[in-house]
Symmetry: C2
């Protein structure tokens, strides 16, 4: 006979932590660092704070055999975490502030907890969270995660006076890991982060005491992404039911205008006429069949496309500057495409191409991938950008041969990135996204081929 | 200011359903079918029941535009679900009977629910579950999932007399989908299932009324996999703490023998001496630091390797017969490797190679992948088997050129398959697993090259 049990989400991700990117001590160090850095960058970016992040990894014991144990400490000058939210933000899986329709690095309510959870199961030590939102107090929590019940255990709580009105968050915990093996990827992650967030000031001290400084440039902060409303094309019966349940709108017309983006009086009435609903009906009075009919009609009606002004792209200037600073290429060109949509979510594709100079020839195109300003460093062969760059573009048409030093950068920003994995390693090949990347890469490839033609012509002229 | 919220695991997998393999109407049909078939096969295999599965998909409406709506009905003769467990088994995410250390197709407590959830959010209709464990009653439940609270809503419950002592489960629900696009993959999935479960009798009726019958051969059922104990090398502090908390053992020596596999008196004492613990101590009396020390010592000590007798491999005979039946090749050879382990989990790699006959030349090696008797049909380029077959083996050494019709089959069975995704699409390249697959494929490649040499020699002899 089968024996049935339920497990908590913390237990699920504990048992399946490789699905969240915590496969082994080497990968765990990388994943812990990226999850913490992404949290700190979100805490700054979203509030137009120029990020100052200090990350230190120190080796605290060598057991001789088996993986090393490290102490990880990260400090940021972000918005801070309100004291009542701290225990759950860091001790409850599937809890966070990024479950909105907003372009953020965070999306699952899981990443920071996975780092602390991995630390806890390998070292049995507690996590220390110190944070202030800039008010009179600084709050200090010592936490453990009760994995089986998915809730934080507060081991200690303290309040300190905040004389300087410091605002930010400090996280400190221990974990097993293999920094030596992880190092190349960790440094690459920080370097690529500096390309797409050049205004961020990141200081990193590694277990050997080496200091790496990624100085933030003194440019204006990009405008932060904003929360947006649903677009009717992204709505299913479940979402519609939830909106109906919580709405204060008394009529269908009001309901549409209030809960969906870019629906005014005219569009609302035109749609309801198309869907054959009386605009004055109470949304809460719809029968289940009517809700299904409404959801289907929403998918079929020709609404204005999603408003992408809620997004915060890099911009061509910033992307080119970041590529120049990182690779010092002979030629670089960046392109920000016009907004597009998939399944009702707005997204923007931005690409850059670099040739020569510091770009290494690698027997093919070197691909740099970013999503919502996060560098993606693993599983590139499964990513939609890889498919475009390696299978869908004929580079010879652009005078590019495999032995030439060419790098392609792809950034996608959206209110919902179609990650295929919980570890945010690669992006699904949604047709609309694939098409956008293809058209964008074709355009910058064309610009490179123009440059190469001019260069070839100039070369021949010189030899005459 | 950030606004914090928690979401339920059902809500998490609803929002991120593409992570679970429910990306679009085409893929959703495939995923729903595979999740249901795998549940039915588990319900039979685990109890040495020769599976008889009836799967029917009927089209229930054409909305003209947008995806079709189908009614899906599956019936098996498996062990059935006890009535008190039915609502949660089909209406609560992260609930199931496969959270044990046992080789099963199911592992996450999620798959069946994802199919029903997808049906619910696209059609707003209820799921019907009818099941009996062979006792006097048959139980019928009409369910919905309360996604935000992750709990089943029982809309209707009925009991019927079970005069024939029928035992099994029937699931019926509606979902949006694109069967036409999904069909090739669905049929391929059923065909490959027939290769590795040839004793299963599967009847499938598609929306056009076409009937596909995969007749089960009349062979003995393989011995079912059994539940096993933890191996000390697979234990971390969290698991150890849970075992200590729930143990009835009064001494450390007793604790080890009771909760871990292959530890007898001598091993227990030798280990405790190595780890410097008094064998008579009460495990519940250990301090947190001592638990950490014990966990680390367990990882370092040279215990007997995990007992793989709990596993249920295909066997070379069955695998060869399945390949023959499916591909009718000119040459076929199968190999079941000796058990191996990764992170304390036992696993067995089995491979097959087929050449000529019905095997199509495809410009490379055609790769068939299986894990715990599940066919894996997506993302092959990310899979460890793909890496081995395409990057780590020099086929020319075995007289195989890319234009030849060669197929390689890889099956891995284990108490824990290292899937990289919740959708069970591909397997991580754990070094121990990669090494086993590499050695296995080399062996069958060697056998093929022998055959090809003999054939070449015979050819030349004939021409003389
Ligand atoms: N350094 C920080 N400063 C401010 N808030 C933070 C910080 N780190 C975490 N948080 C808060 O804690 C929440 C949970 O973080 P966590 O990393 O677990 O999930 P997430 O970032 O929301 O999503 P993801 O799993 O995709 O990372 C965040 O949503 C954020 O509100
Ligand atoms: N056809 C069936 N016959 C008997 N029991 C079933 C059947 N389908 C589901 N179950 C029971 O319901 C539980 C939940 O199934 P579900 O598919 O959601 O998760 P799982 O199979 O345990 O794991 P996975 O998510 O990997 O499929 C199973 O563990 C099993 O006990
Ligand atoms: Mg995060
Ligand atoms: Mg299942």
């Amino acid at each position: 006979m089968e024996v049935f049990e339920e497990i908590s989400p913390a237990d699920f991700f504990y048992r399946n932590r490789d699905i969240a990117g915590f496969t082994n001590p080497t990968r765990a160090i990388y994943s812990a660092i990226r999850e913490l850095v992404e949290n700190s960058l979100d805490a700054c970016d979203l509030y137009r704070i120029k990020p100052e992040i200090y990350l230190r990894i120190s080796q605290i014991s060598s057991r001789g055999e088996g993986p090393e144990v490290y102490r990880i400490r990260i400090r940021d000058n972000g918005i801070g975490v309100p004291p009542e939210a701290i225990p759950s933000a860091f001790g409850q899986v599937l809890y966070g502030s990024k479950y909105k329709l907003r372009q953020t690095r965070g999306t699952f309510g899981l990443g920071g907890k996975m780092a602390l959870l991995y630390g806890q199961i390998t070292t049995h030590s507690e996590a220390v969270i110190i944070s202030s939102t800039g008010a009179k107090k600084i709050y200090e929590y010592h936490l453990r995660i009760d994995i089986q019940n998915n809730r934080p255990i507060v081991l200690k709580r303290a309040e300190h006076e905040n004389a300087d009105r410091w605002r930010g968050t400090i996280i400190e915990f221990s974990m097993e890991g293999d920094y030596t093996r992880a190092m190349p990827k960790v440094l690459e992650y920080l370097k690529q982060t500096a390309i797409v967030t050049p205004y961020a000031d990141i200081t990193f001290v590694d277990p050997r005491g080496r200091l790496y400084r990624f100085s933030g440039i003194d440019s204006a902060m990009p405008k932060p992404p904003t929360e947006t409303l649903y677009h009717p094309h992204g709505v299913d019966v479940e979402t519609l039911n939830r909106l109906i349940k919580s709405t204060r709108a008394r009529t269908l017309e009001e309901f549409l205008k209030r809960h969906f983006q870019r629906i005014g009086d005219r569009t609302a009435r035109a749609f309801l006429e198309y869907a054959k609903f009386n605009p004055k009906r109470d949304p809460k009075g719809l029968s289940p069949e009517e809700v299904v009919a409404l959801a289907n009609a929403m998918k079929g009606f020709d609404f204005l496309p999603p408003d992408a002004s809620c997004l915060s792209p890099l911009g061509e200037e910033l992307l080119e500057a970041g590529i120049r600073k990182e690779l010092n290429p002979e030629f670089v060109s960046a392109l920000t495409r016009r907004p597009s949509t998939y399944s009702g979510y707005p997204f923007i594709v931005e690409v850059g191409i670099a040739y020569g100079g510091g770009v290494q020839a690698s027997g093919g195109i070197t691909l740099y991938r970013f999503a919502n300003k996060i560098p993606l460093l693993f599983d590139e062969a499964s990513d939609v950008s890889w498919k475009v760059v390696n299978n869908l573009i004929d580079w010879r048409r652009y005078k590019v041969s495999p032995d030439m030093p060419v790098a392609v950068f792809v950034h996608i920003c959206s209110t919902k990135i179609p990650y295929k994995t919980v570890g945010k390693e690669f992006i699904a090949d949604r047709p609309e996204v694939e098409r956008e990347i293809l058209n964008a890469v074709r355009e910058v490839a064309r610009r490179l081929s123009l440059y190469l033609s001019k260069k070839e012509y100039a070369e021949r002229e010189r030899r005459k």
